[in-house]
């Protein structure tokens, strides 16, 4: 009895060793193909054939894969310039299929946990047949992905942007990703558009903007924004100054410079922080909005004729900067109301959050139908506070 028991116990332990020691999910780190950036373009040539066959248009996906050994040795030192990464493109009808095809082409399986940026060509999202939400679906659904991947809309070819010279970073996706955070230094850039944010905007059925990326000399430029309507269709790109106005209107300004002229000379205001406050009043079926913008910061550049130590000259400058901000914002409002009729400022959302009764009554006719947004009266008021003068009063004595 005892010996039988002992044997059974030993057998059980051996069985444990066989059955319990396993690891389905083990993938060595050098087997993974870390995807740092994805660019999606539309396949231009075969567009017509697929249209005839009634199939979804084909897309070109470009993955930027990292080479860990190239990163370790300091990237570009010694080896060839592209040693830290390589780009690979394939053509397919869906993004999932792209990944599968990609796996067949590389030695390493694509691994998305460290994906930083997704670049979508405006050609790909402009076409109604290739739905914007459908493109993002894969990135939202796959659980390797995080909701803080940055989405950017490329002006033109997106693929090309993944092979720009990456200044100061070891691969282009990292270059783009760190440039995204510079919205704290300029107001001509939108704040980062995380894929989670984009998902929220799509579900809210509101117009929204996404950061724009374009090639600039041999690097990139992120000024401007891509405007999407409430059916998440790409409408147009907003220019840099229109984006600046939008940032003021949405209260997204985290820093940057406002430039205006004073006595035929240029003066600069370095914004430290800006807030905005919206007031809405209903007049019949029309709405009157008052957007109050308050900005504070330092003088970035003064002019020699001016004695900034005087309170009167500070006041004068403040007024000029405020006027500039109002002009910038009003230009954006004109563009959005008259040209595109899209409420990217989020005034509809403001009504939903604060004037629910009127909003439920009118939401159908806000952008569509009677287009109440385009007829709304929007007044912008700005107040600028110059808190500090910088290190010096004057650079030159009169």
């Amino acid at each position: 009895m005892t010996s039988w028991r002992k044997r059974a116990t030993v057998l059980l332990f051996l069985l444990h060793a066989v059955l319990l020691s396993a690891c389905w999910d083990r993938v060595e780190i050098d087997q993974r193909g870390f995807v740092a950036g994805v660019a999606i373009d539309k396949e231009p040539q075969r567009e017509e054939t697929s249209q005839k066959q009634g199939k979804a248009p084909e897309i070109v996906g470009t993955y930027q894969m990292l080479v860990p050994s190239g990163l370790r040795s300091g990237g570009k030192e010694g080896g060839s310039p592209g040693a830290a990464f390589f780009n690979m493109s394939v053509t397919e009808r869906s993004i999932m299929a792209l990944s599968a095809r990609m796996a067949a082409k590389t030695s390493r399986t694509p691994y998305f946990e460290h994906l930083q940026v997704i670049l979508l060509s405006n050609e790909a999202v402009k076409d109604g047949r290739l739905d914007f939400a459908d493109i993002l679906d894969f990135f939202l659904r796959n659980n390797e992905m995080r909701r803080d991947i940055n989405v950017l809309i490329a002006d033109g070819d997106a693929k090309r942007l993944l092979s720009v010279k990456s200044m100061n970073e070891s691969y282009p996706a990292a270059y783009i990703d760190s440039a995204i955070n510079n919205y704290k230094k300029t107001c001509y850039m939108r704040p980062e558009s995380r894929i989670g944010y984009v998902h929220e905007q799509i579900l809210k059925n509101v117009s929204f903007t996404i950061q724009k990326i374009s090639a600039y000399e041999d690097g990139i430029s992120l000024t401007g924004a891509a405007l999407f309507d409430s059916h998440h269709r790409f409408v147009a790109f907003l220019s840099g100054s229109e984006t600046g106005g939008l940032n003021f209107l949405k209260g997204d300004v985290k820093g940057g410079v406002v430039e205006t002229s004073m006595d035929d000379d240029i003066i600069d205001f370095d914004i430290e922080r800006a807030t905005r406050n919206i007031k809405a009043r209903r007049e019949g079926d029309n709405f009157k909005f008052t957007v109050e913008i308050e900005a504070e910061g330092t003088i970035g550049k003064s002019i020699r004729k001016l004695d900034v130590a005087k309170l009167s000259s500070i006041r004068k400058m403040e007024d000029l900067f405020a006027k500039e901000i109002v002009q910038l914002s009003e230009k954006t409002i004109r563009t959005l109301q008259k040209k595109y009729k899209k409420d990217a400022i989020g005034l509809g959302m403001h009504l939903y959050q604060n004037k629910l009764m009127s909003w439920e009554e009118l939401s159908e006719n806000w952008e569509d139908g009677r287009q109440l947004f385009a007829d709304a009266t929007i007044e912008v008021k700005a107040e600028v506070n110059i808190r500090r003068l910088g290190n010096i009063n004057q650079s030159e004595r009169r």
């Binding site: 690891c23 389905w24 995080r146 909701r147 579900l203 604060n354």
Partner: protein, 365 residues
Amino acid sequence: MNHWEYDDNKIEAKELTITVSSMIIGVGILTLPRVLAGTTSSSDGWISILMAGAFAVTIAVLLGKFAGLYAGGTFFEYVRSLVTKPVAIVITGIMCVYFMLFLAYEIRAIANISKTYLFDRTPAEYIGLMFLLIVGYAASGTRIGLLRLNTMFFPIVLVVTFLLLFFSNSIVNWADLKPFFVTDVKRLMVGAKDSVFSMLGFEVILFYTAMMKRPKEAPLAAAVGVVIPVVLYVLIYLICIGTFTPWALQEIGYPAIELAKEVKIPGEFFERTESIFFTIWIMTIFNTASMALDIAVHLAHSIVRKGKRIHFVAAICPVAYLICMLPKNVIEFALLGEVISYMGFLTIGMTLCLYGVAAVKGMIK
């Protein structure tokens, strides 16, 4: 080998509180924010949670009072003395099945979630089996050991969850909570019903009060034990709304885990917050599952009154495993969850009836 014997196998009021809280906090809260975002508008789900909380606290106090009546004895014996033996067997049997289903549900849930977020290729069956084996091991030990394990895990769970909520402050957009009070009462009630589902489990008072030093403290301890998860649920819910907006929250499978994925702890040292969150959440689900098994075993044992605990563990585990693998997909699985929740209501209803019988028979002083 010397076994250390505690001088008494009794628990204090605060240990009962922790037991109730650990039992309630399980897989429910991982999905509750999504469910509430679907049934209520804007951020009004917190009212539903509070309503459900008030309901649960009331029931918990009543159950605590009932459990105080048979301190020292077992549930089955007391019910037998109240109603006849066959009725007692049926009632105890239903409860035993309920806790077994509860166990099955937790196992499948942990298998599903682990497969989604941790083990991409490991079959869910194996994840569930491993978890069940460990739970079975825990439940075949002493009951008091299980409760002390709760006491050990629970503070860790609370601290990590609160840290997570604290650090999520930077990604929450508080304006998304507006507008307030826009949901009608009917939908609030539906939300409250959904919230009660993820508060079930406080019935454990019925079975652990017997182990208390001073059973009179049970109702209060149970009430506090329910309030802790309610507060936690409201916070997690509001922060989920603020992070994802009500629109996106409806579409996110496991909002609480997604929240952990979004949170960035400053300093770049902890890049994967969700792995810490996941670890501690498996701990609390382990607590819930092992207590459910323990009670199922205890009830079966009290009816049969023969054999050892381990025999019952060995009998119940395979059944629970088979049940948990029955649902083919997540939708069927959600259906199983609903069935179990209604069964939970049934057990509560039965117990309240028994309390009524005890009152009629004049057994309550």
